[in-house]
Symmetry: C2
Subunit: 231 residues, 2 copies
């Protein structure tokens, strides 16, 4: 299995694709990154992820593709040799999975709400994002650099969006989140994460990312306003 070629269908600017890519790099798995144009989806994407038509998709050999970033992380951990991504102990695995689910549901909703709002609604949702950051920060093991302990692990990978993407969101919205002084441990973690040698190999360039995300802000706000008036 592990000798079959690996293709990752992804797109620049996606923290979900970053998860899959980083997992492959941490395991030392060679892969081909196939850049997807989400405004004009390829037959390759539609064939391999007909249900959601989203990236990332991992295609391993000629077998069915694996979709959804959290499912891909588990698959990469199970299908390839190399350092484990998830902890080994069942309770620690369950805790990591619980927080991954928290990030993809509760945290993500608050983040999108903040990015879509302005004025008072933005202040309220920024408060929500920060409360969620506090909960996440509480999971950093004492005296350790990473959520995974001494090296980047599953939960660090899941949180990669907070480490690198959040800074762009702060700049675009003008709202400090992690930039505030309230989460010193999480800020330290974000610095360590983005400075990690393997992580850096697959982090999108800051300026290019900012340029790609900035126009999305107006679209989000306008969609949110239309929904608020029409529904």
């Amino acid at each position: 299995m592990s000798e079959s070629p690996v293709k990752l269908i992804g797109c620049f600017a996606s923290p979900f694709v970053h998860r899959a890519e980083l997992a492959l790099r941490l395991k030392g798995v060679p892969y081909e990154l196939v850049e997807e144009d989400l405004s004009n989806k390829s037959d390759l994407l539609l064939k391999h992820n007909p249900v959601h038509q989203k990236v990332p998709v991992l295609v391993h050999g000629d077998r069915t593709a694996i979709c959804e970033s959290l499912v891909i992380l588990e698959y990469v951990d199970e299908a390839f040799d190399g350092p484990p991504l998830l902890p080994s102990e069942p309770l620690a695995r369950a805790t990591a999975r619980f927080w991954a689910s928290f990030v993809d549901k509760q945290f993500r909703e608050s983040w999108i709400a903040m990015f879509s709002a302005d004025g008072e609604a933005q202040v309220a949702s920024a408060r929500e994002v920060k409360a969620n950051l506090t909960l996440v920060e509480g999971q950093l093991p004492e005296g350790k650099t990473f959520f995974g302990g001494d090296s980047v692990g599953y939960l660090d990978i899941v949180l990669g969006g907070i480490a690198h993407w959040m800074e762009m969101f702060e700049e675009i919205t003008g709202v400090p989140l992690l930039a505030d002084e309230e989460h010193p441990a999480l800020r330290r973690w974000a610095r360590e994460y983005t400075a990690d040698e393997i992580v850096r190999q697959c982090l999108p360039d800051r300026d290019r990312l900012l340029a790609a995300l900035t126009p999305k802000r107006d679209t989000f706000v306008s969609i949110a306003k239309t929904m608020a008036t029409q529904k």
Copy 2:
């Protein structure tokens, strides 16, 4: 670990609690079911699931509790002996996890929308539910009784709500879903699932379930209508 006492904080009528309970029964793990009153949440629940304050919660010995039904299924599979719940092969595991996520996101949203709607909106969302049922049905392995093969496995457990609860929703809303002739394989599966000896031990009684769910219908519709006029 496996000798520590197991408590399951749950509540009658929840298909998510059913998942956790069935997983424990399939593994042969003795447990105490602690019935939670969700309209007056207990200190036990608030202590063990402070983030979401929801059931099910699995408390194993005096260690941190495990929350969220899908996380609990993985934990039970890893922490206890007995027949495996997830398949053994990485690709099959990934596929099962993908469909579990589909059920808890896309399928669940369409189901809630249907239960909350009436009139034309209900017809549209019933169409959506059925399209999702077709996708799920396509995952039944040919010639096998269960999604897990010859016996109830992880994806069967996740789909338990469709097997037993859906019938009540059909009765309450008056909209046939699985009762239609469109999904013969899934209907056959639902019959096999609800007839399984271990499954039956932890399926809520039909009449009591119907009585518990019926009043919720008006609440859902009224909330949906209020949201539609006020937003």
